[in-house]
Amino acid sequence: MKKKNICIFVFILIFALGIICSLYLLNSEHGDTVNIIQNGEIIYTIDLSASEDRKIEVEYQGRKNIIQIYNHQICVSDADCPDQTCMKTGYLKSGTIPIVCLPNKLIISYTDDSEVK
Protein backbone atom coordinates (compact mmCIF):
# COMPACT_ATOMS: atom_id res chain seq x y z
CA MET A 1 0.00 0.00 0.00
CA LYS A 2 2.80 2.36 0.92
CA LYS A 3 4.60 1.68 -2.33
CA LYS A 4 1.47 2.44 -4.32
CA ASN A 5 1.18 5.83 -2.64
CA ILE A 6 4.78 6.67 -3.51
CA CYS A 7 4.07 5.76 -7.14
CA ILE A 8 1.03 8.01 -7.34
CA PHE A 9 2.91 10.79 -5.56
CA VAL A 10 5.80 10.62 -8.06
CA PHE A 11 3.36 10.68 -10.98
CA ILE A 12 1.49 13.73 -9.66
CA LEU A 13 4.77 15.49 -8.85
CA ILE A 14 6.14 15.16 -12.40
CA PHE A 15 2.79 16.11 -13.90
CA ALA A 16 2.33 19.20 -11.70
CA LEU A 17 5.92 20.30 -12.33
CA GLY A 18 5.28 20.10 -16.07
CA ILE A 19 2.06 22.10 -15.89
CA ILE A 20 3.49 24.85 -13.66
CA CYS A 21 6.59 25.30 -15.82
CA SER A 22 4.50 25.28 -19.03
CA LEU A 23 2.18 27.99 -17.75
CA TYR A 24 5.16 30.05 -16.65
CA LEU A 25 6.82 29.72 -20.06
CA LEU A 26 3.64 30.46 -22.01
CA ASN A 27 3.17 33.79 -20.26
CA SER A 28 6.74 35.02 -20.50
CA GLU A 29 7.51 38.50 -21.78
CA HIS A 30 9.38 39.23 -24.97
CA GLY A 31 10.84 42.10 -27.00
CA ASP A 32 10.49 42.79 -30.71
CA THR A 33 13.73 41.37 -32.02
CA VAL A 34 13.71 37.92 -33.54
CA ASN A 35 16.68 35.71 -34.31
CA ILE A 36 16.63 33.09 -37.04
CA ILE A 37 19.24 30.52 -36.15
CA GLN A 38 20.38 27.69 -38.37
CA ASN A 39 22.84 25.02 -37.30
CA GLY A 40 23.96 27.14 -34.32
CA GLU A 41 24.60 30.31 -36.32
CA ILE A 42 22.44 33.42 -36.40
CA ILE A 43 21.59 34.00 -40.06
CA TYR A 44 19.00 36.77 -39.64
CA THR A 45 18.14 39.25 -36.90
CA ILE A 46 14.86 41.00 -37.54
CA ASP A 47 13.09 43.78 -35.66
CA LEU A 48 9.45 42.74 -36.05
CA SER A 49 7.92 46.09 -35.07
CA ALA A 50 9.77 47.84 -37.93
CA SER A 51 9.73 45.14 -40.60
CA GLU A 52 7.36 44.97 -43.52
CA ASP A 53 5.46 41.91 -44.69
CA ARG A 54 7.84 39.65 -46.56
CA LYS A 55 9.00 36.11 -47.08
CA ILE A 56 12.43 34.69 -46.36
CA GLU A 57 13.63 31.48 -47.91
CA VAL A 58 16.04 29.37 -45.86
CA GLU A 59 17.73 26.32 -47.26
CA TYR A 60 19.45 23.45 -45.50
CA GLN A 61 20.94 20.49 -47.38
CA GLY A 62 18.53 20.92 -50.27
CA ARG A 63 15.43 21.28 -48.08
CA LYS A 64 13.65 24.60 -47.84
CA ASN A 65 11.74 26.51 -45.19
CA ILE A 66 9.82 29.62 -46.11
CA ILE A 67 9.54 32.06 -43.21
CA GLN A 68 6.75 34.59 -43.44
CA ILE A 69 6.53 37.93 -41.67
CA TYR A 70 2.99 39.22 -41.65
CA ASN A 71 1.52 42.06 -39.61
CA HIS A 72 4.62 42.21 -37.34
CA GLN A 73 4.37 38.51 -36.57
CA ILE A 74 6.58 35.69 -37.74
CA CYS A 75 5.82 32.10 -38.72
CA VAL A 76 6.99 29.33 -40.99
CA SER A 77 4.57 29.24 -43.89
CA ASP A 78 6.02 26.37 -45.87
CA ALA A 79 8.43 23.54 -45.19
CA ASP A 80 9.32 20.38 -47.04
CA CYS A 81 10.49 18.45 -44.00
CA PRO A 82 8.63 15.23 -43.17
CA ASP A 83 7.08 16.24 -39.83
CA GLN A 84 5.92 19.83 -40.54
CA THR A 85 5.96 20.71 -36.84
CA CYS A 86 7.36 24.17 -37.52
CA MET A 87 4.34 25.06 -39.64
CA LYS A 88 1.84 23.77 -37.11
CA THR A 89 3.42 25.89 -34.36
CA GLY A 90 1.96 28.95 -36.04
CA TYR A 91 3.04 32.47 -35.16
CA LEU A 92 5.80 33.03 -32.65
CA LYS A 93 4.11 34.23 -29.47
CA SER A 94 5.96 33.26 -26.33
CA GLY A 95 9.28 34.84 -25.36
CA THR A 96 10.91 31.54 -24.48
CA ILE A 97 9.30 28.89 -26.66
CA PRO A 98 10.87 28.95 -30.13
CA ILE A 99 9.65 27.72 -33.49
CA VAL A 100 11.80 24.71 -34.24
CA CYS A 101 12.34 22.65 -37.36
CA LEU A 102 14.35 19.66 -36.22
CA PRO A 103 15.17 18.10 -39.62
CA ASN A 104 16.41 21.40 -41.03
CA LYS A 105 18.09 22.53 -37.78
CA LEU A 106 16.20 25.81 -37.86
CA ILE A 107 15.19 27.84 -34.80
CA ILE A 108 13.22 31.07 -34.70
CA SER A 109 13.06 32.76 -31.30
CA TYR A 110 12.93 36.13 -29.61
CA THR A 111 16.29 37.40 -28.44
CA ASP A 112 16.92 37.30 -24.70
CA ASP A 113 17.91 40.94 -24.67
CA SER A 114 15.33 43.23 -26.26
CA GLU A 115 17.77 46.17 -26.24
CA VAL A 116 20.03 44.55 -28.85
CA LYS A 117 18.97 45.92 -32.19
Binding site: K3, K4, C7, V10, F11, I14, F15, L17, G18, I19, I20, C21, S22, Y24, L25, I37, N39, G40, P82, D83, T85, K88, T89, G90, S94, T96, I97, P98, V100, L102, P103, K105, I107, S109
Partner: protein, 162 residues
Protein backbone atom coordinates in the same frame (compact mmCIF):
# COMPACT_ATOMS: atom_id res chain seq x y z
CA UNK B 1 21.11 -17.48 -29.44
CA UNK B 2 18.71 -20.37 -29.86
CA UNK B 3 16.00 -20.42 -32.47
CA UNK B 4 13.14 -20.12 -30.01
CA UNK B 5 14.49 -16.94 -28.44
CA UNK B 6 15.33 -15.44 -31.81
CA UNK B 7 11.82 -16.12 -33.11
CA UNK B 8 10.24 -14.52 -30.05
CA UNK B 9 12.39 -11.41 -30.36
CA UNK B 10 11.68 -11.19 -34.08
CA UNK B 11 7.96 -11.47 -33.38
CA UNK B 12 8.15 -8.68 -30.79
CA UNK B 13 10.11 -6.49 -33.18
CA UNK B 14 7.63 -6.97 -35.98
CA UNK B 15 4.66 -6.23 -33.71
CA UNK B 16 6.42 -3.06 -32.48
CA UNK B 17 7.15 -2.08 -36.08
CA UNK B 18 3.53 -2.55 -37.11
CA UNK B 19 2.36 -0.39 -34.20
CA UNK B 20 4.99 2.22 -35.12
CA UNK B 21 3.85 2.38 -38.76
CA UNK B 22 0.18 2.66 -37.79
CA UNK B 23 1.04 5.42 -35.34
CA UNK B 24 2.70 7.42 -38.14
CA UNK B 25 -0.76 7.96 -39.58
CA UNK B 26 -2.18 9.39 -36.36
CA UNK B 27 -1.81 13.18 -36.54
CA UNK B 28 0.20 14.89 -33.82
CA UNK B 29 -1.94 16.38 -31.10
CA UNK B 30 0.31 19.29 -30.17
CA UNK B 31 2.64 21.41 -32.32
CA UNK B 32 5.65 20.71 -30.12
CA UNK B 33 8.52 18.68 -31.55
CA UNK B 34 9.02 15.42 -29.68
CA UNK B 35 5.45 14.91 -28.51
CA UNK B 36 4.22 11.53 -29.58
CA UNK B 37 2.04 8.79 -28.18
CA UNK B 38 4.83 6.26 -28.58
CA UNK B 39 2.55 3.25 -28.77
CA UNK B 40 5.41 1.08 -30.01
CA UNK B 41 6.92 1.44 -26.56
CA UNK B 42 4.24 -0.90 -25.19
CA UNK B 43 6.44 -3.62 -26.64
CA UNK B 44 9.57 -2.01 -25.18
CA UNK B 45 8.11 -1.93 -21.69
CA UNK B 46 6.77 -5.46 -22.06
CA UNK B 47 10.14 -6.77 -23.24
CA UNK B 48 11.90 -4.90 -20.42
CA UNK B 49 9.99 -6.89 -17.83
CA UNK B 50 9.87 -10.25 -19.59
CA UNK B 51 13.28 -10.44 -21.25
CA UNK B 52 16.84 -9.44 -20.45
CA UNK B 53 18.29 -5.98 -20.99
CA UNK B 54 20.28 -7.10 -24.03
CA UNK B 55 17.23 -8.67 -25.68
CA UNK B 56 15.20 -5.49 -25.14
CA UNK B 57 17.98 -3.35 -26.59
CA UNK B 58 18.07 -5.60 -29.67
CA UNK B 59 14.30 -5.31 -30.17
CA UNK B 60 14.33 -1.52 -29.69
CA UNK B 61 17.29 -0.75 -31.94
CA UNK B 62 16.04 -3.02 -34.71
CA UNK B 63 12.64 -1.33 -34.50
CA UNK B 64 14.18 2.17 -34.59
CA UNK B 65 16.42 1.32 -37.55
CA UNK B 66 13.68 -0.33 -39.62
CA UNK B 67 11.11 2.26 -38.54
CA UNK B 68 13.36 5.08 -39.72
CA UNK B 69 13.82 3.37 -43.08
CA UNK B 70 10.07 2.85 -43.48
CA UNK B 71 9.03 6.32 -42.35
CA UNK B 72 11.76 8.10 -44.33
CA UNK B 73 12.49 10.58 -41.54
CA UNK B 74 16.24 10.02 -41.25
CA UNK B 75 17.00 12.82 -38.77
CA UNK B 76 14.59 11.30 -36.26
CA UNK B 77 16.91 8.32 -35.69
CA UNK B 78 19.32 10.30 -33.48
CA UNK B 79 16.52 11.55 -31.26
CA UNK B 80 15.02 8.08 -31.02
CA UNK B 81 18.34 6.45 -30.12
CA UNK B 82 19.27 9.15 -27.60
CA UNK B 83 15.90 8.87 -25.90
CA UNK B 84 15.81 5.09 -25.97
CA UNK B 85 19.25 4.63 -24.44
CA UNK B 86 18.42 6.86 -21.48
CA UNK B 87 14.95 5.33 -21.13
CA UNK B 88 16.21 1.75 -21.15
CA UNK B 89 18.98 2.48 -18.65
CA UNK B 90 16.49 4.13 -16.29
CA UNK B 91 13.96 1.33 -16.64
CA UNK B 92 16.64 -1.32 -16.16
CA UNK B 93 17.41 0.18 -12.76
CA UNK B 94 13.72 0.62 -11.92
CA UNK B 95 12.96 -3.00 -12.79
CA UNK B 96 15.15 -4.10 -9.90
CA UNK B 97 13.17 -2.18 -7.30
CA UNK B 98 9.66 -2.54 -8.72
CA UNK B 99 7.72 -5.64 -9.71
CA UNK B 100 5.12 -6.07 -12.44
CA UNK B 101 2.40 -4.57 -10.28
CA UNK B 102 4.03 -1.15 -10.49
CA UNK B 103 4.97 -1.43 -14.13
CA UNK B 104 2.99 1.66 -15.07
CA UNK B 105 5.04 4.06 -12.92
CA UNK B 106 8.34 2.80 -14.32
CA UNK B 107 6.81 3.31 -17.77
CA UNK B 108 5.99 6.93 -16.86
CA UNK B 109 9.53 7.54 -15.63
CA UNK B 110 10.86 5.77 -18.71
CA UNK B 111 8.82 8.06 -20.97
CA UNK B 112 10.04 11.17 -19.16
CA UNK B 113 13.63 9.91 -19.43
CA UNK B 114 13.06 9.26 -23.13
CA UNK B 115 11.99 12.87 -23.57
CA UNK B 116 14.99 14.07 -21.55
CA UNK B 117 17.29 12.13 -23.84
CA UNK B 118 15.60 13.63 -26.89
CA UNK B 119 16.06 17.15 -25.56
CA UNK B 120 19.72 16.48 -24.83
CA UNK B 121 20.27 15.20 -28.36
CA UNK B 122 18.42 18.27 -29.70
CA UNK B 123 20.70 20.60 -27.72
CA UNK B 124 23.77 18.92 -29.20
CA UNK B 125 22.35 18.79 -32.74
CA UNK B 126 20.97 22.34 -32.87
CA UNK B 127 23.84 23.83 -30.80
CA UNK B 128 21.45 25.90 -28.69
CA UNK B 129 19.82 25.65 -25.30
CA UNK B 130 16.60 27.26 -26.57
CA UNK B 131 14.99 23.83 -26.99
CA UNK B 132 15.03 23.35 -23.20
CA UNK B 133 11.86 25.45 -23.08
CA UNK B 134 9.99 22.47 -24.58
CA UNK B 135 10.89 20.32 -21.61
CA UNK B 136 7.84 21.12 -19.42
CA UNK B 137 5.50 20.23 -22.30
CA UNK B 138 7.37 17.01 -22.82
CA UNK B 139 7.04 16.25 -19.10
CA UNK B 140 3.24 16.49 -19.36
CA UNK B 141 3.04 14.46 -22.55
CA UNK B 142 5.52 11.94 -21.18
CA UNK B 143 3.34 11.43 -18.10
CA UNK B 144 0.20 10.81 -20.14
CA UNK B 145 1.79 8.71 -22.88
CA UNK B 146 3.91 6.80 -20.38
CA UNK B 147 0.94 5.98 -18.17
CA UNK B 148 -1.05 4.79 -21.18
CA UNK B 149 1.68 2.57 -22.60
CA UNK B 150 2.48 1.35 -19.08
CA UNK B 151 -1.10 0.28 -18.40
CA UNK B 152 -1.27 -1.42 -21.81
CA UNK B 153 1.97 -3.27 -21.14
CA UNK B 154 0.75 -4.29 -17.70
CA UNK B 155 -2.40 -5.82 -19.18
CA UNK B 156 -0.24 -7.51 -21.82
CA UNK B 157 2.10 -8.95 -19.16
CA UNK B 158 -0.72 -10.44 -17.15
CA UNK B 159 -2.49 -12.00 -20.14
CA UNK B 160 0.24 -13.22 -22.45
CA UNK B 161 2.99 -15.57 -21.42
CA UNK B 162 5.21 -16.04 -24.41
Amino acid sequence: MDTKRMTRLALLTSVALIIFIIELHIPNLAPVPGIKLGLANIITVYAMYKYSFGDTALVVFTRILLGTIFSGNISAIFYSIGGSVLCMCGMFLLRRVTDEKYLWISSVIGAVLHNTGQIMVAVVMLKTTAVFSFFPFLLISGCIAGAFTGICAQILCSRINL
